[in-house]
Amino acid sequence: MLNFDWLSGISQETAKLIFFGLYFLIGALVLMLPNDYVYEGIAKEDRHWWNNLKLWSLAVLAVLASVYYQF
């Protein structure tokens, strides 16, 4: 049990899909964050799209997913 042998029926391809599912889930959760929360610390009049940390996070997740797609 401690060796996760109960998951031995899952193939490498399916396991990879689980990782992609995780990235998708994280991306969806990030998108659900309120905009005011991700900009907190920057005055309302100084907020620009490039300060939007949701975009930063999604970009990082996209690169991560493409690395796992490649390998």
Binding site: N3, F4, L7, S8, V60, L61
Partner: protein, 506 residues
């Protein structure tokens, strides 16, 4: 030994770091300046500092060696083993720590649970960090001894002198700003090696083809996901459960030297952005440390020890000048690890041990002095214990292994502490103690429980799970905390929707 130009580059680098670090002395006039950089630092500096502190010279050699033996699966540690955890830290944990005005992770645990949890967590970190210092001093001395020809003791004292001086005077600001330069040097040196190595193996496609043709044991060298029955330490279940769910989060959320950097940010946006920017930079780390190991499979097949992969590539691929730069990059990794340990340990001792137990309510200058003196004492301790690494060659691995016992239980109490208001002080304390004990038990009897080579990922998962369950069960049986005791310490949707007003109440 280095050539003249390499020698010049290394000396210029060491002197430059000393002068740069000492420049930041003028910004230190209070304990907040010393431990938290006066809460004035920008995200890009903090993000770069997180990355360079995380990757040391020992990792450069070790990861290349593992890539030589096991292939690209080693990259999981910097890809899935960092990015999700850093996003969770950025959006959930760091805002709480930052808004609460905290200096240390154990300080949060003390407020959320009790003083005993705070003291156990802090004392454990202090012990590990102090032991690590001696190992790092020895590693840097060996590097200087081999390449520059300096005697071991001169090498140890010169490393301690340079890093100690700027950390003593400049505090965390000097640590972070020197880290910025160190990261740039590390990236330049690392990428130079990768591009020249790629050229030497005839390009990426050629390398993949050659490695694939080397025999059945190399067939899965480019598979990032490994099956459960792999003999390598990286089955996908270990990567998902042990690394992604536990160790990565414990490291990015519970490690004082990482989190303390984010707490130096000038505002909450910079604190969050520093983690996300750091996660973007982390994605490049496998290219720097893993790819040379892969290319060494083609250039130097049949190496008896995989850890020789990187030194051999440097020796055969890099021209004079770039060898010096690569050595400076190695040294940068070591220096950034040492300065982080010095400053974080001084912060833990001053805030979690000295202030609550030895002298309460002293003036701020007193705590500043204590932090500086602690830095000096640690420096002396590190120098004195450095030769232990020569007598006990496995000590670095032993320290890292012992550290991993702590990660699962620590993350369990942090997670429940912030997300479950019913979690009590006795739940947290028993989970920490029993969880660490269980991890040690599993490691001692690992041959009877596990089938893979080194089951540290599995051990971290199971010790996390047991600590989690213990925390829940004991908490349900003990008296819950009052609403006032939990104010500002437990996650609430209010933090997402009423940001500015919450800020005022914390």
């Amino acid at each position: 030994m280095l050539s003249g130009i390499d020698y010049f580059i290394v000396i210029a680098y060491i002197v430059g770091m000393l002068l740069l670090g000492l420049y930041f002395k003028k910004f230190v006039s209070s304990s907040e300046d010393y431990f938290l950089g006066g809460k004035s630092l920008p995200f890009w500096a903090i993000g770069m500092s997180i990355v360079v502190s995380d990757i040391g010279a020992l990792d450069f050699v070790g990861v290349s060696g593992q890539a030589y033996r096991y292939g690209i699966a080693v990259g999981n540690f910097d890809w899935v083993g960092s990015v999700p955890a850093m996003l969770l830290a950025a959006f959930i944990f760091i805002p709480y720590f930052w808004r609460g005005g905290m200096y240390t992770i154990p300080e949060y645990l003390g407020r959320r649970y009790n003083k005993s949890v705070r003291t156990i967590a802090s004392a454990t970190w202090i012990l590990f960090f102090a032991l690590d210092l001696g190992v790092l001093f020895w590693a840097s001395a060996v590097l200087l001894n081999v390449l520059m020809g300096w005697p071991i003791w001169i090498s140890i004292l010169s490393t301690a002198g340079v890093v100690g001086l700027y950390t003593y005077f400049g505090g965390i600001t000097a640590v972070i700003m020197t880290d910025v330069v160190q990261m740039i040097i590390m990236f330049i040196g690392g990428f130079a090696l990768v591009f020249l190595s790629l050229d030497a193996v005839g390009g990426w496609e050629n390398m993949v083809e050659k490695i694939g043709a080397m025999g059945p044991e190399y067939q899965s060298h480019f598979d990032i996901i490994r099956p459960i029955d792999t003999k390598s330490p990286f089955p996908w279940t270990g990567i998902l459960f042990g690394l992604t769910f536990v160790m990565a989060n414990a490291y990015m959320i519970g490690n004082q030297s990482i989190v303390q950097r984010c707490l130096t940010a000038k505002n909450e946006w910079h604190a969050k952005a520093s983690m996300i920017f750091g996660s973007a930079l982390k994605m490049f780390i496998p290219i720097l440390v893993l790819f040379p190991g892969l290319m060494a499979v083609v250039v130097h097949p049949n190496l008896a020890d995989g850890d020789q992969a990187l030194p051999m590539m440097i020796k055969t691929i890099l021209p004079p000048g770039l060898v010096g730069l690569m050595f400076a990059a190695f040294f940068a990794g070591l220096m950034s690890s040492v300065d982080s340990l010095l400053n974080s340990t001084a912060t833990l001792f001053t805030k979690d041990i000295y202030e609550p137990f030895i002298k309460k309510n002293a003036d701020d200058q007193h705590y500043l002095k204590v932090g500086q003196i602690t830095t000096l004492v640690l420096l002396g301790l590190g120098v004195a214990t450095a030769p232990m690494s020569s007598d006990f060659p496995g000590i670095y691995v032993a320290i890292q292994t012992f550290m991993s016992y702590f990660q699962g239980p620590l993350f369990a109490i942090l997670l429940l502490g912030i997300f479950w208001k019913r979690s009590t002080q006795w739940g947290g304390l028993s989970a920490l103690v029993i969880g660490i004990g269980f991890a040690i038990f599993l490691n001692v009897f690992k041959a009877g429980f596990f089938t893979i080579e080194d089951p540290f990922l599995y051990i971290s998962w199971w010790s996390f799970l047991l600590a989690f369950i213990i925390n829940v069960v004991v908490s349900l049986m003990t008296k819950k905390h009052t609403k006032a005791e939990l104010d500002g310490l437990v996650f609430s949707s209010k933090i997402l929707t009423q940001t500015s007003s919450i800020n005022k109440t914390l």
